[in-house]
């Protein structure tokens, strides 16, 4: 359960970090978000990753939890990269009624 929770937090974290980058805002939203919003998203993204670390460490023990957290970071970053690579496909899917 801790694993699922950690993964969810990491996914949300990397999602925010992805959208906090100007070039990806341009790609996904066709516009750049205001600097203040971007900053909040970036801070929020890192905060979620940090929260995931504390959740994972307190749930699984700090040694074991740290390892698992690193692994879930990789998984969720890969998910963000995959989503970004398939952006056009995802947007086409969403455009259909």
């Amino acid at each position: 359960m801790i694993h699922v929770f950690t993964l969810a937090l990491c996914l949300a974290g990397f999602g925010l970090l992805l959208m906090a980058m100007g070039r990806h805002q341009q790609d996904w939203l066709r516009r750049k978000l205001p600097a203040a919003t971007t900053r909040k998203m970036r801070r929020g993204g890192f905060a979620l990753l940090a929260l995931a670390f504390f959740a994972c460490g307190s749930g699984l023990g700090w040694a074991y939890g740290t390892l698992a957290w690193c692994g879930w970071l990789t998984v969720s970053a890969l998910a963000a990269v995959t989503a970004n690579t398939n952006r056009e496909r995802i947007q086409r899917l969403k455009a259909k009624p």
Partner: protein, 518 residues
């Protein structure tokens, strides 16, 4: 020297990555599979039941040793852990014989009945291959692996400097853009698994610590043996009194060990001079606890008296054993094991894409691409032979496990020979064919061989995919599905090379090409 820091790092990254690159690919590929070595062994020894040793099996082992091992100089018991894959092995040797010279009986870890699994080294070979290689003296292999791992550590650090845009390009993976795509794939696999890659390389070097740094021992100890005796004491020596004395049941002796060390689970047991009043028994713990104890509990098998418990290791020894645990991940539950495996796949792909990138970058600059210079030709052909050949060899290893006759002499060796015959065959094939054809055919061979594994398994055992699904045999289902997935990946890769457009897409912006160091 190169003019700027980043250029000199790029040069360093290129050569510390390329030269040991093929060895690193082999280390990563076999090392990654070794996270599932017990599971692979379970598949390769379908005759054996899975599970920790039961009291019933322990009694059976006790009976075998008392009956057939009477008068022996030593007894040994090797107990599989809960992940299975190995039989419960008991053996005995005459006085004066070395361990392994005597007779051996394999037992079912649950019932204690005698079993005769096929002769194979199973997943353990894949594990050993990742640092001992094969067909060469172990020490040579370890020096080679050590040098490759040192170069890897240099390549990781210099790579972070070289590919300075890895963080700006963190989420970028663009396909179908030639060199740019290879660079993206190399960067993404490296950065996403960077904590793992740094850890695994560093701790890998720590496992080979005294191969690389023998002076740490020779400065303070007369010999390596003296160091190991001091750092990892095996307990009091047995003495032969000549007075026969009956031994307590093994089951009770195990219970004594568990009293001395709560949570103790035995992995390996030696009894010296069984049947004599001066006999000693050493029980080693399972190694699947993170930073857990490694030394044995020593008990007198006659009186049941505790003779010695290993000392608490010092900080340096504890640090070393913790790092080795971190590397091998034996303590992992199934979730963390899957994460370890996935990170290992990232490392393998990172090395492979780095190697391919070296040739892709230089092919465009060749004066005559049809007749490249020798260095380029060799690198390109080694890429095909290693990146496509090694996985094909592993598939052949699994196939040989099912296809070789069970009575074959040196059967386990022949399984391994088949791994290298297929790998060597593809290496030679890659040298003989035009590069592009070699890639297509090499990758397609991998796909065919991996796809054959579940087919041959279904034909030669009663535990094919459908039967396993019906019986709820998760391990066999997952193994067969993994083979099919690997076949699909290699088939897709082969198809992509086959249908690839001749020219890469034009570069979009100068920004992208300017940092295409590799």
């Amino acid at each position: 020297m190169k003019s700027t820091f980043r250029q000199s790092m790029a040069w360093l990254h290129t050569w510390t990555g390329l030269l040991p690159g093929w060895v690193l690919f082999v280390i990563f590929l076999f090392g990654t599979s070794a996270y599932y070595q017990q599971e692979i062994s379970r598949w390769m020894r379908p005759e054996i039941a899975t599970g920790a040793v039961t009291p019933r099996a322990l009694d059976a082992a006790d009976a075998v040793l008392r009956e057939r091992g009477a008068g022996a100089g030593s007894w040994t018991l090797s107990l599989p852990d809960g992940r299975g894959g190995d039989a419960f092995t008991v053996s005995w040797a005459k006085p004066g014989d070395r361990r392994g010279d005597g007779a051996e009986v394999l037992l079912d870890s649950r019932t204690g009945a005698q079993v005769e699994p096929r002769d194979t080294r199973g997943g353990f070979f894949l594990y050993r291959m990742h640092f001992d290689l094969h067909y060469m003296p172990v020490m040579w292999a370890r020096y080679l692996v050590s040098i490759a791992a040192l170069a890897m550590l240099v390549a990781i650090v210099s790579g972070v400097v070289t590919h300075k845009k890895i963080f700006a390009d963190f989420f970028m993976l663009r396909f179908g853009k030639g060199q740019r795509s290879w660079l993206d794939a190399h960067n993404v696999t490296a950065v996403l698994a960077l904590p793992f890659l740094t850890m695994i390389t560093y701790t890998g070097l720590v496992t080979l610590l005294f191969t690389l740094m023998p002076w740490a021992i020779s400065a303070s100890f007369p010999s390596q043996e003296a160091y190991y005796a001091a750092a990892f004491p095996t307990g009091p020596e047995a003495s032969v009194t000549g007075d026969p004395a009956p031994m307590m049941p093994l089951k009770d002796l195990f219970a004594r060990a568990a009293e001395a060390r709560p949570g103790f689970r035995a992995s390996f047991v030696t009894v010296n001079n069984p049947g004599d009043a001066g006999a000693t028994l050493a029980i080693y713990p399972q190694v699947d606890a993170f930073g857990g104890p490694r030394g044995p509990v020593n008990i007198s098998p006659v009186t049941g008296q505790l003779l010695a418990v290993p000392p608490i290791p010092g900080a340096a020894t504890l640090t070393q054993s913790t790092m080795i645990d971190l590397h091998a991940g034996r303590f992992s539950g199934w979730e963390l094991r899957a994460l370890y495996f996935m990170s290992g796949v990232f490392g393998t792909v990172m090395v492979a894409t780095g190697l391919v990138l070296w040739t892709v970058k230089r092919r465009a600059r060749l004066p005559d691409p049809a007749r490249p210079h020798f260095g380029f030709w060799l690198a390109e052909r080694l890429n095909v032979g290693v990146i496509a050949g090694t996985p094909a060899g592993i598939a052949a290893y699994f196939l040989a496990n099912r296809l070789l006759p069970l009575q074959l002499e040196h059967r386990a060796d022949w399984e391994i020979n088949w791994l290298f015959i297929v790998w060597g065959g593809l290496l030679a094939w890659g040298m003989a064919r035009p590069a592009r054809r070699a890639w297509i055919e090499g990758l397609a061979s991998c796909a065919v061989l991996f796809a054959l594994v579940p087919v041959v398994n279904a034909l030669t055992t009663s535990r094919g995919l459908i039967a396993s699904l019906v019986n709820g045999d998760t391990l066999f289902v997952v193994f067969d599905l993994t083979m099919l997935a690997l076949a699909a990946v290699f088939a897709f890769a082969s198809w992509r090379v086959l249908t690839r457009r001749a020219q890469p897409a034009p570069r979009r912006k100068s920004r992208e090409s300017s940092e295409a160091f590799a």
